[in-house]
């Protein structure tokens, strides 16, 4: 038995030296519609039963096995699992970095010397020819002016040419400031994403051209900065392209105040209770406060006009940083509170823009009192004008 085994192995090894097998798969690849040549692209052959990891590749054109333009030539016997008559094999052009590839075609291995795969067409990726980003205000162009305590509609609009005429998909746009990055999570201050963009397929009368509009509602506290809109588009072959454009969001100075301030009933020659007044930053930058008051007309030197007599401007006072509750002497009133003026003055307040998307954290208290001099009585009304400023206060 051992003797026969040795003879068997010797003959078997000898036979292997001279025997080989090849079964060629030949196919042709058309250039992309946009004119990009198929030559130089890589085509891959595999058996779906064993998966794409067991594959054979070739370069299309004269640089590959075929030596012919737009043609490839592969030996399916070079697959690790080989190939047999009846096997169904897949072939496709793969993306080697230039975004050009194809869908796969299938062929069945026959008993002939070779098999011809169905023709492949190199897919053209879509092309974003123009992208703009702006709000609905025509002036100033390419600048975005936010809306106090509300949102501004901003559109990122692109013209997309899909040479193959395939439908667009996976459209999205990210609008983000230079204080953020493309991949950051959404944040009303600096990062917005829209994955439900509108497609106008009737744009320009060209069936291959689509206008894509990705809208954003930009909040009043979005960063005053340079912003980038980056749009992604792919065709139904998932060939993805992107393009971007910049715009500027302008500074918005805005302040909101509880109104009216009600000092209640105050007796003559008395100081009112302290009235806290909420001040809200409804803009997108850190603000200081500008304040002034008047009775009936600006600059009249009066804080309130009463049914009997007036309260002069100096008798209405405020503290922008701390509360001093309880009864006060006149001296304490004068030392703990600043007097209002009838011309605007800027005071340090340092109230930053809102940064919390859930609850408004851009709110600070101010504290107010009024002194009623002698011979003033009945109902009193006046005006305090709050303003926002980026200037340093006195």
């Amino acid at each position: 038995m051992r003797k026969y085994s040795l003879i068997f192995f010797a003959v078997f090894l000898f036979s292997l030296q001279g025997v080989f097998a090849a079964h060629f798969i030949v196919g042709q690849v058309s250039d992309a519609v946009d004119g990009t040549s198929a030559n130089g692209h890589v085509v891959v052959l595999w058996n779906p039963v064993y998966g794409m990891s067991d594959n054979v590749t070739d370069i299309i054109g004269t640089l590959g096995n075929s030596g012919q333009n737009n043609t490839y030539l592969m030996d399916c016997e070079l697959l690790s699992n080989g190939c047999s008559v009846g096997d169904v094999l897949d072939v496709e052009v793969i993306d080697t970095g230039d975004n050009y590839f194809s869908s796969n075609v299938s062929l069945t291995v026959t008993g002939a010397g070779f098999d011809i795969a169905p023709n492949i067409k190199l897919n053209s990726p879509p092309n974003i020819t123009l992208i703009t980003v702006d709000d609905s205000l025509t002036s100033p162009a390419h600048q975005i002016d936010l809306v106090t305590a509300s949102t501004r509609d901003v559109n990122c609009t692109a013209i997309v040419n899909e040479p193959d005429g395939n439908p667009l998909q996976n459209i999205s746009a990210v609008f983000y400031s230079t204080n953020s990055t493309y991949g950051s999570i959404d944040d009303n201050n600096n990062h917005y994403t829209n994955s439900s963009c509108f497609q106008n397929t009737n744009y320009g009368g060209n069936p291959n051209v689509t206008q894509v509009i990705c809208g954003f509602q930009i909040w009043y506290y979005a960063d005053a900065a340079t912003w980038n809109c980056l749009m992604n588009v792919s065709d139904n072959f998932t060939a993805m392209v992107n393009s971007s454009n910049y715009t500027t969001i302008n500074t918005l100075l805005s302040v909101g105040v509880d109104s009216p301030m009600d000092f209640g009933i105050v007796n003559s020659q008395n100081i009112s209770e302290e009235v806290p007044v909420n001040v809200t930053n409804y803009g997108n930058v850190k603000i200081n406060l500008s304040l002034y008051g008047y009775g009936q007309t600006e600059g009249d030197g009066i804080a309130m006009i009463c049914d009997h007599g007036n309260i002069s401007i100096g008798n209405e006072r405020f503290n922008l940083t701390s509360s001093n509750p309880g009864s006060l002497t006149l001296n304490q009133f004068q030392s703990d509170y600043q007097n209002l003026t009838d011309f605007y003055s800027i005071y340090p307040f340092g109230l930053s823009q809102r940064t919390d998307d859930v609850s408004n954290n851009a709110v600070n208290f101010t504290y107010w009192r009024v002194y009623l001099p002698n011979a003033v009585a009945y109902n009193c009304t006046g005006n305090v004008v709050f303003g926002a400023s980026t200037l340093q206060g006195a």
Binding site: V11, S15, A22, N65, T71, L73, D75, G111
Partner: protein
């Protein structure tokens, strides 16, 4: 035990006969002959020619040939008779085994 040994011998002998018959059937040596017959399907041939000739010329002389190929390392070098001839136009020379696939039984025309 004796019966088992005998059966094994028959199996090995049968396998050897199959190998030898297959080699005889598909491997054709063409020393310096100008008339070599190919069967329909796969043929393995080694040539003995003084002047190498191109596979393109060879296939043009024998249109029934579908493919000609040989192995070089782990790769197959092939020429396919379609689309006007696909593949490297290699030289056919002595000392190599070529696999030739023919669409019919033919007598080879060898250039030279």
């Amino acid at each position: 035990m004796k019966l088992k040994m005998t059966a094994s011998k028959y199996i090995v002998l049968a396998f050897l006969m199959v190998i030898i018959l297959a080699s005889a059937l598909f491997a054709v040596s063409a020393p310096d002959s100008r008339t070599v017959n190919l069967v329909e399907g796969k043929n393995t041939i080694s040539f003995n020619v003084s002047n190498p000739f191109s596979v393109e010329t060879f296939v043009k002389l024998n249109p029934a040939i579908e493919t000609v190929s040989y192995h070089e390392g782990n790769e197959t070098v092939g020429y396919v008779n379609t689309f006007g001839g696909v593949g490297k136009n290699f030289l056919i020379e002595s000392g190599k085994d070529y696999e030739i696939f023919s669409s019919s039984n033919i007598t080879l025309n060898i250039p030279g």
